[in-house]
């Protein structure tokens, strides 16, 4: 017997995820502006403060912002549970994440000890609070098997990432705390592989078949890939033997590549072949994940002789190429779906008498397909230019890439805004 534990009154309001989603492109614009003004210099090493400012504008302002917003919505729809006190919790998380990220970016840009401290005091508690709230929600009778397990692991990795990040920020801010650069690799590893990759794997196995009409992912992959990634990450972090640590991280890289290949294969086997720009966002994202994994694998084989630009290239491919692309694609599915869902709710609940004329949005036209296509082209062109700029150490190309990235995020903001305007126009009439 399976009775739905949720009622429609538990469903989060339209505002809950949208406040996060509308902030996403704003941080994309900020990251692009930083690249534009700092020139190509910042793409040459992962250690430069300006590079770290851009990295955190992406990882926290763009990626975490989108993922946290999506989780507030997906806990009920995909996993049958809900975040404790969803509405006020979402407002608090959104506010603190936005303010904390701005402080951290400013701290790196201006190298201000006090700003590092404020950033850590805002970000660490809010990310731990979010992780704890999600774990509590998942304990309270979550369904959905594989994705629920992936989300549980991903938010634990988020907590580890936040804790390590807080310690590093304290190292920047307080003379009494030594800045342990060695921790940066663990911080980055748990953030990229543990939080971002595990979450994308867990969510994509649901949303790709659901929205893009592909066959389902193989059950073994859906069930075992997220825990396996975390076990390998843990082994790569704490195993006593160097060879064991390296082997685990190499295996993790191979599994990331396998996941990208399976996804590309499934996207090729869509049941409906109608043009859909989100498919191209996913394809681009998976191709970049494959390339990032290839570069990481190459770096392991070469050992210490791989150049510093290789690490920047792999990071750029993973963050701007993989994570940003799939999130962008996902936003173009989730936001129109939410507009549809909230405008259609009275009909779905059966509250509208038969024969009543009521506006129903066509889910494929909530955001103009042509404008989404243009935004994809801008995003892809920006990515190509930025990658070329790193590979050739060319500042002009980096700035040209930044201009395109700026335009791409501006158009993303406009497109998401169009969906919100459509909702606002009709919400009063339903």
């Amino acid at each position: 017997m399976n009775l739905g534990a949720l009622s429609l009154e538990d469903a989060p309001g339209f505002r809950v995820p949208l406040q996060f989603f509308l902030t996403v492109p704003a941080f994309g614009i900020l990251a692009a502006t930083l690249i534009l003004f700092d020139g190509g210099l910042l793409l040459q090493s992962r250690w430069l403060p300006a590079t770290l400012a851009v990295t955190h504008a992406f990882t926290l302002g763009y990626i975490a912002m989108a993922m946290l917003g999506a989780l507030f919505q997906m806990l009920p729809v995909v996993m049958g549970t809900s975040f404790p006190r969803t509405e006020p919790a979402a407002r608090l998380v959104h506010g603190l994440l936005t303010a904390g990220t701005l402080c951290l970016v400013a701290a790196f840009e201006w190298r201000q000890a006090m700003l590092f401290l404020i950033a850590a005091m805002l970000l660490v508690p809010v990310l731990l609070l979010f992780a704890a709230g999600t774990l509590i929600a998942l304990r309270q009778g979550a369904k959905g098997g594989g994705p629920a397990r992936a989300v549980r692991l991903a938010v634990m990795a988020l907590a580890v990432t936040a804790g390590l990040g807080g310690w590093l920020a304290a190292g920047h801010a307080l003379p009494a705390v030594p800045l342990q650069r060695a921790l940066t690799d663990y911080h980055a590893g748990w953030g990229l592989a543990g939080w971002i990759l595990v979450l994308v794997v867990g969510i994509s196995t649901q949303v790709i078949p659901m929205f893009l009409t592909t066959p389902p992912y193989p059950k073994t992959l859906e069930r075992w890939l997220p825990p396996l990634l975390v076990v390998l990450l843990l082994t790569g972090s704490v195993a006593p033997l160097d060879a064991l640590r390296q082997g685990a991280l190499l295996a993790l890289t191979v599994l990331a590549a396998v996941y990208a290949l399976v996804s590309l294969h499934l996207l090729q086997r869509r049941r409906r072949k109608r043009f859909d720009v989100t498919v191209w966002f996913w394809r681009l994202g998976m191709a970049c994940l494959l390339a990032a994994a290839g570069l990481e694998g190459y770096a392991y084989v070469r050992g210490g002789s791989a150049g510093p630009e290789l690490a920047v290239l792999a990071g750029l491919l993973f963050l701007a190429g993989f994570a940003v692309s799939v999130i962008n694609g996902m936003l173009y599915k989730i936001v129109p779906f939410l507009v549809w869902l909230h405008l259609r709710m009275p009909v779905l609940k059966g509250l509208v008498p038969p024969g009543t004329r009521l506006y129903t949005p066509n889910i494929h036209e909530v955001i103009a397909p042509q404008r989404m296509k243009w935004q994809f082209l801008l995003h892809a062109a920006a990515l190509v230019l930025l990658l070329a700029a790193v590979a050739a150490t060319n500042g002009r190309w980096a700035q040209a890439g930044a201009v395109l990235l700026l335009a791409s995020n501006g158009l993303l903001l406009f497109n998401l805004g169009a969906a919100v305007r459509l909702y606002a126009r009709h919400a009063g009439s339903v």
């Binding site: 017997m1 399976n2 009775l3 739905g4 949720l6 009622s7 429609l8 538990d10 469903a11 009920p76 729809v77 995909v78 996993m79 049958g80 369904k143 959905g144 649901q206 078949p209 659901m210 929205f211 893009l212 009409t213 389902p216 059950k219 049941r271 409906r272 779906f337 549809w340 869902l341 779905l348 609940k349 059966g350 889910i363």
Partner: protein, 75 residues
């Protein structure tokens, strides 16, 4: 009891939900609907509750499908 069948596997969200609700509109008193879905439709349940429909879900491990039986009144 007479049962209608509806297979919504392979449809793009939110079409499965729309199709199920449209099918329910056509049901005669005493009829049941059996839906075949590739995942558990958690969003559907509260909508069915709000409309006074009852439901029971079974997961078929063999071909990894979800079978949702929907009816009104006594089963």
């Amino acid at each position: 009891m007479a049962a209608r069948r509806l297979d919504v596997r392979g449809l793009e969200a939110p079409e499965p939900l729309e199709r199920i609700l449209a099918e329910l509109e056509l049901m005669e008193a005493g009829e049941q609907l059996e839906v075949t879905h590739w995942r558990e439709p958690l969003l559907l349940y509260p909508i069915l509750d709000a409309r006074g429909w009852r439901h029971r879900t079974r997961h078929d491990e063999a071909d990894d499908t979800w079978l949702i039986r929907i009816w009104k009144g006594a089963e």
